[in-house]
Amino acid sequence: MTAEKMALAKAINESLRTALDADPKVLIMGEDVGKLGGVFRVTDGLQKDFGEDRVIDTPLAESGIVGTAIGLALRGYRPVVEIQFDGFVFPAYDQIVTQLAKMHARALGKIKLPVVIRIPYGGGIGAVEHHSESPEALFAHVAGLKVVSPSNASDAYWMMQQAIQSDDPVIFFEPKRRYWDKSEVNREAIPGPLHKARVVREGSDLTLAAYGPMVKVCQEVAAAAQEEGKSLEVVDLRSMSPIDFDSVQASVEKTRRLVVVHEAPVFLGTGAEIAARITERCFYHLEAPVLRVGGYHAPYPPARLEEEYLPGLDRVLDTVDRSLAY
C-alpha cells in the first residue's frame, strides 16, 4: 500500500486508528465521539473497534474533559481530546492555559503532558453562531502549548501522528471546511518535522503565507495571479506555535513582499506576529509593508454574511495588488 486518496477527515480517522493500534495508552475522549463517531464522523468506527474504554464518550463539560485528560496523562495515558466546535473550547480554556500549558514547567520537567486537543475550526460551512470561529491566536500566545493546523489530508494524517507522539500538549486545529477535500496520503512516506512550514507553490514576486483552510484559497489566488503574469509563492505555515519564521524569511528575502492570510480576525491575529517579526528580520528586503487579510473585528457573522467576512479569492488578490503597488 503506497499513496491513497482520501478526505482530510478520513485521514485523521485513519491516523487516530493507527495511533490507537500502536499504543495502548492512546485514548480518544470527547462528546459524541463514540457510537456517533463525532458530529463530523472523524472518530467513526473507532469505538466499535477499540471499545468504550479507549474511545470515551464524556459528559457534556469541556473543562471536565480537558481536566480529566490531564489526570489521565499524569497516569501515563496519551489522551486525544475532541472539542466539538471551535466556539466550545472556552469552558476548557482555564484548564488549557493554567494547567495543561504550565504543568510541565511547574514540575521542573518531572512530568509530561502528552495531550492532543482536536478542534474543528473556521467558517465557510453555513453554520450557526459559535461553529465557525478561528481562535488559534488565543492559544499560540500561551507558552507551553504547541499549535498546528494541517491544510490537506496527508498533513492531517502525519501531523496527527506527530502530535500524538509529542510529549507536549498540542492544540490541533482541523480546517472543518476542508474535511471533505480529498488528496493523496502516503502512509509510508517519512514526514518532515511537525513545526516546519512548507512552500507549496514557488513564485518570485510576492509571498503568501497561510495555514489550514486558507492554504487552498492562497493556491487559487496564486493560480489566478499567474494568469495576470504575477508569480506568487505560497507558504503553508502548518504550525502557529512555534511559527517557522526561517522559512517565511527565506521566501520573503527572495520575493520581497509578504501577505499573510487567515480567517481569524486581523487584530492581534497570528498575522500580526508574522508581520512584526518578518519586518524585523527582513527590514532591508521588504519593498512593501507586510499586509494582512483576515476576519474583521466583529463576532463571526451569521452564515449569510460569511462570504463577505471570510478572506476569499478577490479580497486576497486585492491585497496582493496593494502590496505590489508599493
Binding site: K35, P59, L60, P91, P114, V128, A298
Partner: protein, 388 residues
C-alpha cells in the same frame, strides 16, 4: 514517545469507562409528578393539584392549541430546512407539553432564559415564531428584542444562560419585585460547571429562579447515563433547594409544577429545580442521524406517551372540546404553516455592512476603520461594474 509501562495487575473491577448501572427510571416512577396519564386519564396529586384546580375547559383547549400549533410550526421549520431555506433546525418534537406547560405557567413580568430548542416557550411568551427562524436561516444570531417579551435570546453554548438567569433573578430581588425567572436547559447541560455555579449562586443569594431541565434522555448521541447516575432532579438537594421530577409529556403536570416553583420564587423561597422527564422524538438537529446511536423501539415506546394525544383524549372523554374545535384548529394550523413558509422565503439576506453593526454600543475606532476599508473595497467592484 514516553509511555509508562503499567505493571499488569489483576483488574478488580470494570475499567472505569463502562457505563455504571444508572438507576433506570422504573416503569412506575414513584417520584414522577403526573396529573394526566399517558392514556389521558386525569389523576390526583394532592400537592400540585391546587395549581390547576381552577383550570377552565377553555384554558385546557388553549394548552392543546398551543401544543398543536407549536408542533406544526416545528414541522414546518424542519421541512423548510430540507428545502434549503434554513441551514439547520433543532426540533422540539415530543417536548411540547414540557414547554407549553412551563411556558404558560409564567407571568408576563417573569423572564425566560431559553436554550436553542424552546420554540414552545417562545410561543407562550408571544414571540412571533418566524422570528425564531432568523438564526437557523443564517440571517442573524438572534432575531428578537429580548425585552419585548421578557424572553432572552437563544443560547447555544450549553449551560451559559443559567447564570444569566440567576443574575437576572438577583436583580429582580434587588428591585424588590415579585417577578420570577426561569432558566431552561437540557440533561446534557446538567454536567456543565456553569449550571452548578448557577445552583450555588441562586441558593446563596436565594434568587427567585426556577431551573427547568428538560431531560429528553439524549444529549445528541449520549444517553442521560453519560451525565449522571442518579435522577437529575436530585441534584438540587445538595445545593439546598428542592428538586422535583415531573412527567414532561403531561402538560397539566408541567403547568402545575412550574406554577408551584414560580410561586415559591415569588414568595422569596428561592430557587427550585424542575426536571421534566420527556423524550426527544426526532433527531438532535436536522444535521443529526439518530439511527447511528439509538434503537427505534425506544422512540416507539415513547410515542405511546405522546403529549398532544393524551390531552386530546382527555379533552374528548371529558367533553371539553368538540369536533368543531379540532377542525378549526386544523385550519389554524395550516394557516400558520403557510405564513411561516411565506415569511421565511421572503426573509431578506442581511446587508453586508451588518457585519460591523452592533459590535459595540458606543463605537470602536477599529470597527470604524475596517468598515471604511470594507466600503472602499465594495465600491471598487461597483467601479468595475458587476465585480469580478
Amino acid at each position: 514517545m514516553t509511555v509508562e509501562s503499567t505493571a499488569a495487575r489483576k483488574p478488580r473491577r470494570s475499567a472505569g469507562t463502562k457505563r455504571t448501572a444508572a438507576k433506570k427510571p422504573p416503569g412506575a416512577q414513584p417520584d414522577l409528578v403526573q396529573l394526566l396519564t399517558p392514556e389521558g386519564k386525569r389523576v390526583k396529586n394532592g400537592e400540585y393539584d391546587t395549581y390547576v384546580a381552577d383550570i377552565t375547559p377553555e384554558e385546557l383547549r388553549g394548552l392543546y392549541r398551543d401544543m398543536v400549533l407549536t408542533r406544526r410550526f416545528d414541522a414546518e421549520a424542519t421541512s423548510l430546512q430540507r428545502q434549503g431555506e434554513l441551514g439547520l433546525w433543532a426540533s422540539l418534537l415530543g417536548q411540547e407539553a414540557a414547554q407549553i406547560g412551563s411556558g404558560r405557567a409564567t407571568r408576563e413580568d417573569d423572564y425566560v432564559f431559553p436554550t436553542y430548542r424552546e420554540h414552545g416557550v417562545a410561543w407562550c411568551r408571544g414571540v412571533d415564531p418566524t422570528n425564531l427562524l432568523g438564526m437557523f436561516r443564517g440571517v442573524n444570531n438572534g432575531g428578537w428584542d429580548p425585552n419585548s417579551n421578557n424572553f432572552h435570546l437563544y443560547t447555544i453554548v450549553i449551560g451559559s444562560q443559567t447564570l444569566h438567569a440567576t443574575g437576572y433573578a438577583m436583580g429582580v430581588a434587588k428591585d424588590g419585585a415579585d417577578s420570577a425567572v426561569i432558566a431552561y436547559f437540557g440533561d446534557g447541560a446538567s454536567s456543565q460547571g456553569d449550571v452548578a455555579e448557577s445552583f450555588t449562586f441562586s441558593a446563596v443569594y436565594n434568587a427567585p429562579v426556577v431551573f427547568f431541565c428538560q431531560n429528553n434522555q439524549w444529549a445528541i448521541s449520549e444517553p442521560t447515563e453519560r451525565q449522571t447516575r442518579v435522577p437529575l432532579y436530585q441534584r438540587a438537594q445538595g445545593y439546598g433547594f428542592p428538586g422535583v421530577r415531573v412527567d414532561g409529556n403531561d402538560v397539566l403536570a408541567c403547568l402545575a409544577v412550574t406554577k408551584w416553583a414560580l410561586e415559591r420564587a415569588r414568595r422569596g423561597e428561592g430557587p427550585t429545580l424542575v426536571e421534566a422527564y420527556t423524550y426527544r422524538m426526532g433527531a438532535h438537529t436536522t444535521s443529526d442521524d439518530p439511527t447511528k446511536y439509538r434503537a427505534d423501539e425506544e422512540r416507539e415506546a415513547w410515542e405511546a406517551k405522546d403529549p398532544i394525544q393524551r390531552l386530546r383524549t382527555y379533552l374528548e372523554t371529558s367533553n371539553h372540546a368538540d369536533e368543531g374545535f379540532f377542525a378549526e384548529l386544523e385550519a389554524e394550523s395550516e394557516a400558520l404553516g403557510k405564513r411561516v413558509r411565506e415569511v421565511v422565503r421572503a426573509m431578506p439576506d442581511p446587508d453586508h455592512f451588518a457585519i460591523f453593526e452592533n459590535v459595540y454600543a458606543d463605537g470602536h475606532a477599529l470597527v470604524d476603520e475596517e468598515r471604511a476599508q470594507f466600503a472602499a473595497y465594495q465600491a471598487s467592484f461597483a467601479d468595475e461594474g458587476e465585480g469580478k
